[in-house]
Each structure stands twice: as structure tokens, then as C-alpha cells.
Amino acid sequence: MNTITANPSYKLELAASPHVHSRWSTKQAMWLVLAAILPMVISAVVFFGLYQLLIIIVSVGFCVGTEAAVKAVRKRKISIGDGSAVITGLLLALILPPNFSLSSTAIGAIVSIGIGKEIFGGLGYNIFNPALVGRAFLQAAFPVPMTTWSQPNYAVDSISSATPLSAIKFDKVSTELSNLFLGNVGGSLGETSAIAVLLGGIFLIVIGVVNWRVPVSMTLGVIIFGGIFWLLDPAIYPNPLFHIFAGGFLVGALFMATDWVTSPLYGKGMWIFGAGIALVLVLIRLFGGLPEGVMYSILFMNAFVPLINRYTKPRIFGKEK
């Protein structure tokens, strides 16, 4: 038997097919998302000052630290290299108000990773978007600081410190679209400048990290639902474009609703998911007690993802309807 005399100069790999892999990897996707977030980080610092960098560092630091700690307690491999905790930290920081307290930021970061993610088993198993869980927790824990906005450094009109959304809701003051677009408005660190958000978001869509269906259906949904009310009474209800550029809509649509883990698996489901977010968002923005609803609408629809997945399974090839 010539077979067993193994040739010692080779140690081959024995694995199941397929034997080649695409360029995609978890790590690479996560770092691409990080790259896409960078413009927002820059705009945050430019608009609100260097202190914001501190918030970001604290947030990222505590996210990564919490993840490492949990993995250590569970005696699992420390998985911070995949970068997902860094994304969570960055996004959490970017949806906080400027000049937010660092200790509260740390609490938010711990909740994000601890309760939002690791409790479910870590990367890939969570039901809700971790960064949003963290923010929702903060919003519920510290409602006042969470709704206190400072004006960006380059604001044209610095009288009101409200965000465009709370301005229109509570004070009936509307904001110029061009200001919304450039970032001359109050708001969270990352959501002020639509350009910065779009830059990163479109990059992600183009290279295929992010599925285009969710952002598109969210935008269409907001245009339709928001548009209906606007047509009913343009004096009371803002126009759909305002909905799109104000508040966290763009960050939500491009970075948070698209999170792989917490969005539907199937194309059809993504449409439903996006439209659902848009509907809830418009309802909260127009009728709710809170000025902003992106976070809540995404979290709300996250809860429906398992149900959506269940009822949008595509037809198996060749199977009768």
C-alpha cells in the first residue's frame, strides 16, 4: 500500500468544500463601515469642538472594554478584533448630544454592549441594535441632558438651541433645508451634517456592504407617509424633504437600520422593515410627545424582524406556490 507513507514535507488542509472564499470577511466589512463613519466623526469635531472627540473615545473605549470583559468572564475568545464593538461605540457617540457628560456616555456604552449585545451571546445574535439600545437607555435615564442641544460652532442663527425637529414641533419654527444639509443646526454629534452622513452611506451602498433596499424603502416611506400629511395641511406638517434631512433620519437609514444583524434577511422583508420604520417615525414625529423618533422606530421594527423573516421566506426554487 503506497498510501500511508505520508510525505512529511507537506501538511495539507483537510476541509469541506468550497475550498475557495470570497473577499468578504466579517472583519473587513466592519472596518469598511468604520471608514464610512469617519466623515461623520470629522464633521462632529469640526462642528462641535474637540470635546466631542473625548465622548467618542470614552464611548468606544467602554464598548470595547465591556465586550472584552464579558468574553473573559464567559471564557470565550476575545473577539474585539472584528471591530463591531468599535462601530457600536462610534455610532453611539455620534447619536449623543454634543457636550454630553462623559460618565453618562460610559454608562450608555456599557449598556449598549452589555445588554444590547453580549446578553444575547455576542456578535450576530442580538435582536436589537446595540447602539440604539444604549441610546434608548440613556434617553430614558437622563431625558433632560439627552434633549439639551448646543449649537454648532458655525451656526448662522444662534438664538434657538433646539434641534430643527423640536423647533418645528414645540416652537413652530422651521429650519432652512440648506442649513440642514450642511450641518448648521443643532442635533446629535453625527447627524448634523447630511453631507458627511451621505458620503459614508453611499460609499457603503456602492461597495455592497449595505443593502440598498432598507434605506430606499425608508426614504420612500417617509416621502409617502410624511407627504400625505404635508399635503393635508402644509402649514402644520413639515414637508417630506425636511423629514429626510432633519434629525437622525439619514444616520438611521444608512447606518443603523441597515445593521446586518438586526435587519431582515430577505429582500421582501427589507421593504416591509423600511416602510414600517418610516410609518412609525412619521407618527412619532408628527403626533408623539417626543421630537425625534428614528431611534424608537428602528428599535420597534427590530422587534418585528423575526416575524418578518418568518413570513417573507422566498419560494424555494421550483417549488409550487
Binding site: S101, F137, A140, F142
Partner: protein, 225 residues
């Protein structure tokens, strides 16, 4: 039949081993709803204990007279009667407390803990035993509600039983006194107690495994020698 527990044990088992909240997951609604502060938790637990003890006593003393088919119905009636009594007394004597416990006092009627104990214990045991069991479960409930209420109060309003115990610079976490905080706190507490139990079990297993390994090593050495 397992040998009868001692009277002391009958009481203490409800404190930890069979804690109605953490171990048996009973009576969740009042547990979550009223524990915005420690004092509320205590009041609720006391009210529940009162109902639990008295209905246990009544039920265990008349248990032989009630046909099993109307057992649960009679129990519910008896419990509801006691709950109404508690409610009326509270409203008359402690109007403030009664207000803050809100509509959760009447819900003691449907608290699974009470009905559960009657069905599982009082209907099968004598008066003294039942009373002890009820008292034990009530105490367990009290402990759980006090802990939960205490944690929520400390974090959510800086105080414990009305006294400020967190420093001024501590910003209270409002969320703790909201529904979400109740769910999260109870979930985490349960997980914590579970992990203690699991660790204890694991230690036992590990000990046996350790012994096994040692004895095997000894055997090998013997054989080698």
C-alpha cells in the same frame, strides 16, 4: 415519600431555595409594577403575605370539607375576600400607601403565588405547616421585592426608604423607575442568582471529576510501581 421537613425548614425554604420570585418566577406582575421604591415593595409584600397566611390557614383547616372540583373556585373566593379586606383596611388606615400601590392591591387576587401555594401546599398540609410555609414564602417575596425595590430606588432616585444614600453628583437614572428598568433589573437579578446556582452545581461536578482524575492517576502510579 421524602421525609417530612422540620418546621424551621418549612419556613426557611421559601427564603432562598424556593424563593417565589427568583426561583419559581411567580407573581411577576406586582413584583415588577410596584417596586419603584423599597417601601412600596415592602408594603406590597406585606399585603401579599397577609393574604397568603390567612388564606393558607383557612384553606388548610377546611381543606377536607371542600370537594376537589370546586377547590380552585373556593380558593379564589377566599383569597379575593382577604384581598378586599386588605384593600379596605389600607384605604382606611394608610390612604397614601394605598394610592401609590394603585390598582395592584386587587391584583393580589390573581397573584399566582397565592393560588399556587394553596394548591400545592395548603390543600395537602395541616394548619401549622401551611402557615409556616405561607409565612416563609411571604418572607421570600418580601426579600425579593425589597431587593428589587431597593435597587430601583437607589439607582432611580438616589434614595433608599426615602433617605438619600447616593451622593449629590450622582445623576439618578430615571429609567430604573420606568417599566423598562423594572424588566431589566429583575432579568439581571434572576440571571445573577441563576449563575450562583449554576456555579454551585458546577463546583460539585468538578469535585467529582477531580476525584475521579486523582484516583485514576493513583491507579496508574500503582500499576507502574
Amino acid at each position: 415519600m421524602k421525609s417530612k421537613l422540620g418546621f424551621v425548614k418549612e419556613y426557611t425554604k421559601g427564603l432562598w431555595e424556593n424563593n417565589p420570585v427568583f426561583k419559581q418566577v411567580l407573581g411577576m406582575c406586582p413584583t415588577l409594577a410596584v417596586t419603584v421604591s423599597a417601601i412600596n415593595g415592602i408594603a406590597m409584600a406585606l399585603a401579599t403575605t397577609f393574604v397568603l397566611v390567612f388564606s393558607s390557614i383557612i384553606i388548610s383547616s377546611v381543606r377536607k370539607l371542600i370537594p376537589s372540583q370546586v377547590r380552585i373556585a373556593s380558593y379564589i373566593l377566599i383569597i379575593a375576600t382577604f384581598v378586599t379586606i386588605v384593600d379596605l383596611v389600607m384605604k382606611a388606615q394608610f390612604p397614601d400607601l394605598s394610592k401609590s400601590l394603585g390598582p395592584y392591591i386587587p391584583l393580589i387576587v390573581v397573584n399566582c403565588l397565592i393560588l399556587g401555594r394553596q394548591e400545592a401546599f395548603s390543600s395537602k398540609n395541616g394548619v401549622l405547616r401551611s402557615a409556616l410555609d405561607a409565612l416563609g414564602m411571604g418572607t421570600g417575596f418580601l426579600i425579593a421585592l425589597f431587593m428589587l425595590g431597593g435597587i430601583r430606588e437607589i439607582l432611580g432616585s438616589r434614595t433608599l426608604l426615602g433617605f438619600q444614600i447616593m451622593p449629590d453628583f450622582y445623576e439618578p437614572w430615571l429609567v430604573m423607575i420606568l417599566p423598562a428598568g423594572a424588566f431589566l433589573t429583575l432579568g439581571l437579578m434572576m440571571a445573577y442568582f441563576n449563575s450562583i446556582a449554576i456555579n454551585m452545581k458546577k463546583k460539585e461536578t468538578d469535585k467529582i471529576i477531580e476525584q475521579y482524575k486523582k484516583s485514576k492517576a493513583a491507579k496508574t502510579i500503582e500499576a507502574g510501581a
